[in-house]
Amino acid sequence: MTRTAPKSIFSAELIVPAIGDAFRKLDPRQLIRNPVMFVTAVVAALLTILLVIGNDPLSFGFKLQLVIWLWLTVLFGTFAEALAEGRGKAQAASLRATKAELTAKRLKGKGSDYESVPASALRVDDIVLVQTGDLIPSDGDVVAGVASVNESAITGESAPVIREAGGDRSAVTAGTRVISDEIRVRVTVNPGQGFLDRMIALVEGAERQKTPNEIALTILLVGLTIIFLIAVATIPGFASYAGGAIPIAILAALLITLIPTTIAALLSAIGIAGMDRLVRFNVLAKSGRAVEAAGDIDTLLLDKTGTITIGDRQASEFRTVGGTKVEALAEAALLASLADETPEGRSIVVLAREQFGVKVADLPKGAEIIPFTAQTRISGIRHNGSIIQKGAVDSVLKANPGVGETAAATELRRITDEIARQGGTPLAVAMDGKLLGAIFLKDIVKAGIRERFAELRAMGIRTVMITGDNPLTAASIAAEAGVDDFLAQATPEDKLVLIRKEQEGGKLVAMCGDGTNDAPALAQADVGVSMNTGTQAAREAGNMVDLDSDPTKLIEVVGLGKQLLMTRGALTTFSVANDVAKYFAIIPAMFIVLYPGLAVLNVMGLKTPESAILSAIIFNALIIPLLVPLALKGVKYRPMGAGPLLARNLAVYGLGGLVAPFIGIKLIDVVVNGLGLA
């Protein structure tokens, strides 16, 4: 399940290259993507020039320190971004290496003649042959054969998976290895558009597009920068009225502390780290937009099997009809199930042995197995001249036309309804044309899932269970699991209709699916997570792919989306709230020469005007690296309603953002004066 042990953010392995990258990112062409940091860099450059040619009453040492801290502010920002990208880069390098060695056996026509070509020469609809030990050269669909494939290169999971033509397990991914048998694969993507390419681009963050939310936030930050630029640029005019002049270095310091450098420096790191968390969680999002949308989800459509219940039903009870002894039913059921290797079959054997002490250990000699077929939907055994049948109730009744009108059949139907109402699935057992009773196969609701749904409800997310079961069974399981609603006997079309209906009501919907017939619903959903084991069509339709093919993850994906947005919001609020203290540090220091009375605004009691300005600018710079861990790990996310969540985050990041700089700047001032820096 896990790829590689996640490297700590602060391992030297990641930090050292990030320092180099931090300097490379000073390239103005890159820097301009982040307008606030660009302004900071321009101001830093301007002050650097003024340091040499400037003519003002400030001491050189003071100005030099200002310049250094301004450049550090910029560098801390580029460093944060470089650090966030670091983990992805290492992964991208290994994926690239895999990609480079891919070659294909392209078939020439219907036979098995092939030519060896590099994978980059393949085009859509080419058919390639992949034999034992070969790497699959391109994404595609298996058109012939069945093979076990090791997909660890992509998923990190080393247990092989079966890939076969037809059905819902036909999709194969470039870079994975066939470890037995051979398959023919129809290529479904042109070079450069495959899963591997997408994954490389994603983990590397090279062509990272800003997400809609990030763009909006950048606009706000630019807007704030402009407003504060106006506020600072007009000060010289005001000062001239008061009969004084303010040195440019001090105006620059005020500007940089006021503009939202903290959030601007960390913004892209937050986005990259958010995507990286998803990747480490083995989910690939095709766009950042999808991750954000995950945070907005109102309705989750969850498949019952594998998500809400553990995949397999368990036999939990034998119910007899027509006066049959329960031991007899247990023994018959056991015999009929001995050859049944499905989990349900095995659970019947276990129940019969443990509860009723049925001693039959192994398949009796001379017994003949009746295999399960899709037509009869019955399996069983011929043994000692008897025939035992086990299967769906309707099928068993159909296979024994004589019993249809008997009292036992009526009783069986009653038991069947009862089992369904209790959320179970009944299997009928008959022996030599006589009904013995039914086996109660119970759906086992996953431990803890009820609490998860309660959390989701508190977050305002509605859960809808999708199942092929009849409404009675579905209602019972829904009640037990605590979902808000269910869709019984669901066809893919029903899912699509449900999604559209929810969306018309102003809701955002997430679902997961794997089959080709899930594709329309996956495409319609706002967040569609397709299972990696699914078909190519499903993988194309969804906007995320879960490499572990674990439908439960949909819930975590929503959490990750929310965490990403929360981290941005928290740091924005923190950054804006910081401004109050910075004003109180710099305004009195700046204007004290004009009106000495303004010293009362120096509420922090900062020692000298120089040390006040220096302390504010140092705080402004240092807060960036201090918040890097928070930006990269994300703020702590607890599932709860928006009201309490807002109250909590406002207290921590709003109020905290208001108070922290007062303390921080004061402490720095003490240190600055202690060291005699100003």
């Binding site: 939310n213 936030l217 106006i230 001239s240 700046m590 009106y595 009201g643």
Partner: protein
């Protein structure tokens, strides 16, 4: 501070809150274009106007069309008033025979009244003919107010409509608001004022012999009718230079109270109307609560400072609060309350001289305007300005609940943020920019009568009042110069329409969006947390920008006073 003073303040707030719902419901009826009892009488008049102008009131306009029609309407009115003022010397109804107004003053005044500012660089009774007052100026008192309310309706529709292309019909909105809201109230209101002694006559003046036996000429005119809409429409342009401090405009404590109430009443009603429009009146109450917190904080500071008075005078043996520039018939509490009301709203009528307030007492009116007059605010303008801040507040903090920010069911995205920032940035740009300019240019420095920080406050106040479309004057600034008339005229125009156009674009963009159903996971925009957040964001984003200017003006002034220096 006295018990009576606080009783006045709480009676004022109590009546106001009681009026919010009934006025809001009346506004909501007009917002929806539904029939009112007044339609029986005025319905034919309304339809007559449409017919005359060839307007189809049912035509739904896109935000662009709405904006263009609104701008054209205002531009035509501006030119019309400019012409009347320039030509008043040859036009009728000019009993005192005033000459035409100078070009820069005419531009300034026409802009001022068109933008609902009513900044007056002139003394009304000594400059304007009755025709100029009634036709050139009072017309704007109605139409600029109606325009403001219409624009608020347009924005409400943006929030309320779902996947819609249009935001209403400008002409229908303006006509309905004028006919069914402003006109009827003003008729009753003017009669009440007349009953209290406010003159309403076509006579120019009357000569009287005073108790001291001196002959005095008292200017008269159609005062009551102008007074009513001056307050109700948050216009503020007085008939007389002394404005509501003049006994003919505002004779007694009772008229003073209803004048203050009439400034706030429509703005308060609009918060309720907003709640109704978006289908949840708690949304409206939340906004009103945030406004009231900011308002009461302002009143408290101003009242406290004015009541505390001037320590330098105290040392000289003059006890008590600051009565300089205040009318004895109103006293400190009623003057302080009036000053905060008139600047919180975009009215600008004054019953005392703000210039003579203590430094901090006078800073609150200034700060109210710098926030963009969103505390109740000008009719319509207050609530749309406030909603711009609400959009920003939702965006800054909304992400913290882990969802794309949304407000009353509409997602707030890049486009809305961009437009809201654009609209809000115009305030600091013009206020601070023009003040800085005037602080260095000789033409600007010639304006203030006082030296030091107080003189700086005078310049700052003038531009703040202009951009915020308030129109109150700090006094002490000689503004009837080509420089100030031109610059203030530009400031008023930009301050009105450079906020309105982005605001209408937001309305259009929001109207086109889907409505997003509210759930336990939605950002809560009702309740105490939201109110607190709004107040915080408004103070930080709206207020901090002006801290340097306030530090060099009123704050330095105040600190100097404590140290024994007056300017």
């Amino acid at each position: 501070m006295t018990i009576q003073g606080w009783i006045l303040i709480f009676v004022f707030v109590g009546i106001l809150l009681a009026l919010a719902k009934p006025v809001g419901l009346w506004l909501f009826t007009l917002y929806e274009g539904r029939r009112t009892p007044l339609h029986a009488v005025l319905g034919p008049v309304e339809r007559g106007f449409y017919k005359l102008a060839g307007i189809n009131p049912d035509e739904d306009q896109s935000w662009r069309r709405y904006a263009v029609h609104m701008l054209l309407f205002n531009a035509v009115l501006l030119v019309f008033t400019y012409a009347i003022l320039r030509l008043q010397g040859i036009l009728p109804l000019n009993p005192l025979g005033y000459a035409g107004v100078s070009d820069h003053l005419a531009f300034n005044t026409a802009t001022s009244f068109t933008t609902n500012t009513n900044w007056q660089s002139y003394g009304g009774e000594s400059t304007m003919s009755n025709l100029s007052q009634m036709l050139g100026l009072t017309i704007h008192n109605f139409l600029s107010a109606a325009t403001g309310i219409a624009l608020a309706f347009a924005l409400f529709r943006g929030f309320a409509r779902r996947e819609a292309k249009a935001i209403g019909n400008f002409w229908a909105d303006v006509t309905r608001v004028t006919l069914y809201l402003l006109l009827p109230i003003c008729i009753v209101y003017a009669l009440v004022l007349i009953a209290n002694g406010v003159p309403q006559t076509m006579a120019g003046s009357v000569d009287v012999t005073t108790l001291e036996g001196v002959k005095q000429t008292l200017a008269l005119g159609p005062v009551a009718s102008q007074e009513a809409i001056k307050m109700l429409g948050t216009n503020g342009g007085g008939f007389f230079n002394a404005n509501s401090a003049h006994p003919f405009e505002n004779p007694n404590a009772f008229t003073n109270l209803i004048q203050m109430l009439s400034i706030f009443v429509i703005g308060t009603g609009l918060t309720y109307c907003f709640g109704k429009a978006v289908g949840n009146t708690r949304q409206g109450w939340a906004i009103l609560t945030a406004m009231m917190i900011l308002f009461l904080a302002g009143v408290t500071i101003t009242y406290w400072q004015e009541a505390a008075g001037n320590p330098i005078l105290h040392q000289l043996g003059v006890a008590g609060g600051n009565m300089e520039g205040k009318e004895v018939r109103f006293g400190i509490a009623a003057s302080a309350l009036f000053a905060v009301v008139t600047t919180a709203a975009s009215c600008g009528a004054v019953n005392a001289m703000h210039d003579s307030f203590t430094a901090l007492g006078g800073m609150i009116p200034l700060f109210n305007m710098q926030l963009g007059e969103i505390v109740i605010g000008g009719v319509g303008a207050g609530i749309y300005g406030f909603l711009l801040f609400a959009i920003l507040a939702v965006f800054v903090a909304g992400l913290m609940v882990g969802r794309t920010p949304e407000y009353v069911g509409k997602k707030i995205e890049g486009r809305e943020v961009k437009l809201a920032v654009l609209a809000i940035a115009i305030l600091p740009l013009i206020i601070l920019g023009f003040t800085a300019l005037s602080s260095v240019l000789d033409a600007g420095l010639a304006g203030p009568l006082n030296k030091g920080p107080h003189g700086f406050s005078e310049i700052l106040y003038a531009f703040t009042s202009g951009v915020a479309n308030n129109g109150s004057a700090f006094a002490g600034l000689t503004a009837n110069t080509p420089y100030y008339n031109a610059l203030l005229g530009i400031a008023m125009w930009l301050g009105r329409f450079f906020i309105i156009v982005p605001m209408l674009a937001i309305a259009g963009s929001l109207a086109a969006k889907k409505h997003h159903a509210e759930s336990a996971g939605s950002f809560p925009t009702t309740g105490g947390l939201w109110v607190g957040l709004l107040v915080g964001i408004i103070l930080i984003l709206g207020g901090l920008t002006f801290l340097p200017s306030l530090a060099l003006g009123p704050i330095a002034d105040h600190l100097a006073m404590i140290r024994g220096q007056l300017y």
